[in-house]
């Protein structure tokens, strides 16, 4: 630390010197260069570099390391908190925009945590998911209002479907993987997600970084994304996926583009993204060919033409006017509207945007679902809700509010070792997840990662089935949009009206 800074370290690394066996593993494990060995081979920490990612803690064979919050006291001020003071000092030093990773850490109201589910008692029996089938299968895509059934060749005979349905994405559980690009995450993460998607009967999403050739065997379980930077987008790429997603916005950073620093653009990323090695990958804030809803419609149909009419998903960040925007997106021809709430994660975003822009996913689901119903076009597109989905309980509640399925991203990374240290943008991830440094990326064994993610999806699916049984239905579609099975505890009346949920204590 050559330059003077007022920003004192957030954490303190404490090493039990009696327990330490001076093996040096902490030095190797830390992606942040916290440790160096002194003359006696004792690891000496630089506290200021520690992200509290626990890599060293987990791998210390002597269990000698612990990370503590820096107890340094600041003169208390509720208004000018120590966090704000540090932010100001940092900006006074650099003159730059503060960057961060993952979803917002600010204590906004979590509506999911104020919603309670119903259960059956006496008048309608609950169903035992261990003894009866519980069906989670979900179809994403455009559906007609009705179907036509014929009998033989019009002469009686067995019934036959006459209506040709648009292609659908079939999920064995109402969960899809959120878009996380190769570049922001490592190739091994992509491999693990692709394998897990296939094993779980669902879909991974490439994010905006293109599709690495290694993932081609999994293309039936991959949604390819086309974002404003058009990185890695070419005809074969569009045709490779089961569906194409046009990314208009991201919940963590609505209204702005993306920035993948040149340090993360190695040879593989460069090839996949079709950009020079070591250059920053900057995706523009808007698509430069989409300045209106008509333009979006043109791109949707251009992609449909290019792919033989595969489903097209349009991902939008949840902003104030999300209901009207979603309605326009559906009318523009999207088969899936992917709503990304403001608590969604990101590989890198300006802190001001991540923490202050957008609206919660719970509200967005409710208003979009209701708007599409009011307009009689709810069948025309599926709603995928993402951005702040942390558990199976959130998924069940999102579906009861009106979502067809949920997108999860951060939780999958956590399953593979992410400790939510919020430093994804630095490319130093000690867990080998949000980095391209080969000595770090090789830490994540794709098969191990795939198993962890598959386990998580299986566990959540079992939990969703438990809830279905308790509310007395045996198919997820009977809970979908059934806000009657939710009650609110501790929400204000306006919020309850907007999400269409009654106060706990109010019966049917």
């Amino acid at each position: 630390m050559t330059e003077m800074t007022f920003v004192r370290p957030e954490f303190r690394v404490r090493i039990d010197r009696e327990a330490c066996i001076k093996c040096g593993r902490c030095v190797h494990q830390c992606g942040w260069n916290v440790y160096h060995l002194d003359a006696d081979d004792r690891p000496m920490p630089d506290h200021s570099k520690c992200a509290a990612c626990h890599r060293c803690v987990t791998f210390c064979p002597a269990d000698a390391i612990t990370i503590e919050k820096n107890p340094l006291a600041y003169k208390e001020s509720d208004s000018m908190s120590s966090g704000l003071r540090k932010a100001i000092w940092r900006q006074a030093e650099t003159g730059g925009v503060l960057l961060t990773g993952m979803g917002t850490d600010k204590p906004y109201l979590r509506i999911f945590d104020h919603l309670l589910l119903d259960a059956c008692q006496v008048t309608n029996p609950s169903i035992d998911p261990l003894r009866e089938p519980m069906e989670l299968r979900t179809f994403l895509g455009r559906k007609p209002d009705s179907i036509e059934v014929g009998y033989g060749n019009g002469d009686g005979g067995p019934p036959k479907l006459l209506t040709e349905l648009d292609p659908q994405l079939m999920l064995e559980t109402p969960i899809v993987f959120g878009g996380m690009s190769f570049g922001s995450v490592s190739l091994n993460v992509h491999r693990a997600l692709a394998m897990a998607a296939k094993a779980s009967g669902t879909f991974m999403n490439t994010g905006e970084g293109g599709l690495h050739a290694d993932l081609e065997p999994y293309q039936d379980n991959i949604i390819v994304q086309c974002a404003s930077g058009r990185f890695g987008v070419h005809a074969d790429y569009l045709q490779a996926g089961a569906a194409v997603e046009i990314k208009i916005g991201q919940g963590a950073k609505p209204g702005i583009g993306g920035h993948l620093p040149g340090e993360k653009i190695d040879e593989q990323v460069s090839t996949t993204r079709m950009i020079p090695q070591g250059t920053d990958a900057l995706s523009p804030a808007p698509h430069h060919d989409i300045y209106s809803i008509e333009d979006l419609r043109q791109l949707i149909y251009a992609i449909k033409e290019a792919t033989g009419y595969k489903p097209v998903s349009v991902k939008i960040a949840c902003v104030h006017n999300v209901a009207a925007i979603a309605s326009g997106v559906v009318r523009a021809g999207a088969d899936i509207v992917y709503l990304d709430g403001f608590k969604g994660g990101t590989g890198a975003a300006p802190t001001i945007i991540r923490d202050h822009v957008g609206i919660p996913i719970e509200i967005a689901i409710a208003v979009v679902d209701q708007r599409l119903r009011d307009e009689g076009i709810r069948n025309r597109a599926s709603i995928v809700a993402a951005g702040g989905i942390r558990s199976s309980a959130d998924i069940v509640k999102a579906i009861a509010l009106g979502a067809d399925a949920c997108g999860v991203g951060t939780a999958l990374l956590v399953a593979m070792g992410c400790h939510v240290c919020q430093k994804c943008h630095t490319g130093c991830c000690s867990w080998g997840i949000t980095t391209q440094r080969p000595e770090l990326t090789r830490r994540l064994d794709p098969e191990w990662g795939a198993e962890r993610v598959s386990n998580l999806i299986r566990a959540w699916s079992h939990e969703i089935a438990e809830v279905l049984g308790a509310v007395g239905v045996n198919a997820i579609e009977s809970l979908r949009g059934s806000r009657e099975r939710l009650r609110a505890l501790g929400l204000d009346q306006t919020t309850m009206d907007i999400i269409g949920v009654k106060q706990a204590g109010v019966g049917h």
Binding site: T123, I147, T163, D374, G472, H508
Partner: protein, 413 residues
């Protein structure tokens, strides 16, 4: 779906002033804008839950049976109800008006009756109207004013509104039930009627003098509501057009079924889950043109584990059916009997959480919650069986029995 957003009657009605779309939500309106149902009693404010007993009988050849039969069958299941609701639907009971839509009305008072008659006179040709005959029965009290109207729609009205006669009637029923205070349409079909109220079914049947009617299809119901009693309109059957539903059970998917129906313009104002069953059958059978068999497979669909084993064509059909009609799936414990112009259908939920027995003797099909209720009126059936979960029992009237629904009538119409 021709109706969405149309002004059905092409004029501002006195009672629907400011509500140009009357019974259907205006485009872009929210369900919270919809005018709430008038208060009949405190009960209507709460959704009505319940367990029940039910029966149905249909002579496919069109032989007409006395309503006493349905009454006797229901009385054997006395203990399945608790005296808080009973009712019957009879088909073929008005041979003098085989083509007229017959509105069975429940009125709280003369004001509701006057308002309704003003409405009916404006929108229909009233062929005949009269009190629904009844007699004093111990245990039946506080009965509403009961009246029936035999109605036709003039060709000019249909031309003006661009609606089918059926859609015209549906809108009128929604209008009356939602906008006229103290009036309730108990049934609105052709050559059929619902007879229902608060009491045990055998008392209700006696009160309505059911033994004086003869019909080719009868359904009956005794309620065991787990909620406050009091509203005659809350008894089964629930009817719309020629469809009548008696229902035992609870629809756990009510919330989404209701929101799905709202998208097609139905207003679930009665707050009973039975209402959604009636409307779903109307939507699937009449408006979407699905056959009874296919509609039943949408409402009580086969499991994916079975669909996955089907041959390709069936697999495609059932996959599409579930993907498209998922929000219409009736989930939770139920057994229902649907009375309709073409016959009768009985259906249980997909894992059969409510009882349903069936029998046949000659051309007559019987269904009931308990086999004893069948044997009470048909001691020696040719065949009895327990229908499997989600497998409909279908009785189909021979063509020409019901003039209003027969092929000959369709050709003329």
């Amino acid at each position: 779906m021709s109706a969405r957003g149309l002004n059905r009657f092409g004029e501002a009605d006195r009672r629907s002033a400011g509500r140009p779309y009357g019974g259907l939500p205006a485009p872009g309106s929210r369900s919270s804008d919809l005018v709430p149902r008038p208060e009949y009693t405190a009960e209507a404010e709460e959704r009505i839950l319940g367990g029940c007993g039910l029966m149905g009988v249909c002579d496919e050849s069109g032989g007409r049976m006395s309503g006493e039969l349905a009454l006797r069958s229901m009385s054997s299941m006395h203990d399945r109800g608790n005296g808080l609701g009973g009712g019957f639907a009879g088909y073929g009971i008005y041979p003098d008006f085989p083509y007229a839509f017959c509105f069975h009305m429940l009125f709280n008072d003369d004001v509701g009756k006057d308002d309704t008659e003003y409405y009916l006179a404006r929108h229909f040709v009233i062929l005949h109207h009269e009190p629904i005959p009844s007699k004093s029965v111990r245990g039946i009290e506080d009965e509403p004013i009961l009246w029936r109207y035999f109605l036709e729609i003039s060709d000019e009205r249909l031309a003006e509104t661009q609606l089918s006669a059926e859609d015209y009637v549906v809108h009128s029923v929604m209008d009356i039930n939602n906008h006229i205070k103290g009036a309730f349409v108990a049934s609105s079909g052709r050559n059929m009627g619902a007879f229902k109220g608060v009491g045990f079914p055998e008392e209700i049947g006696e009160f309505y003098r059911l033994d004086e009617y003869r019909g080719w299809t009868w359904t009956g119901h005794g309620r065991f509501p787990t909620n406050t009693p009091g509203w005659w309109g809350g008894a089964h059957p629930f009817c719309l057009l020629d469809y009548s539903i008696v229902h035992n059970g609870e629809i756990s998917s009510y919330g989404i079924n209701q929101r799905y129906l709202e998208m097609f313009g139905y207003k679930c104002s009665m707050r009973t889950d039975t209402e959604v069953v009636t409307y779903l059958f109307d939507l699937l059978l009449r408006r979407h043109g699905l056959s009874v068999e296919i509609a039943c497979k949408a409402l009580a669909s086969p499991f994916w584990k079975d669909i996955d084993l089907m041959e390709k064509e069936d697999r495609q059909l059932y996959t599409a059916l579930r993907a498209v009609y998922g929000p219409a799936l009736l989930n939770g414990p139920f057994a229902v009997v649907l009375g309709m112009g073409e016959g009768m259908v009985a259906l249980s939920d997909r894992i059969k959480l409510r009882p349903l027995a069936a029998a046949r003797k000659g051309t007559t099909v019987y269904v009931a919650s308990e086999e004893s209720a069948i044997r009470e009126i048909c001691p020696k059936p040719d065949l009895t069986w327990m229908p499997r979960a989600g497998e409909p029992v279908i009785a189909r009237l021979e063509d020409g029995v019901n003039l209003a629904t027969s092929a000959a009538y369709d050709a003329v119409a």
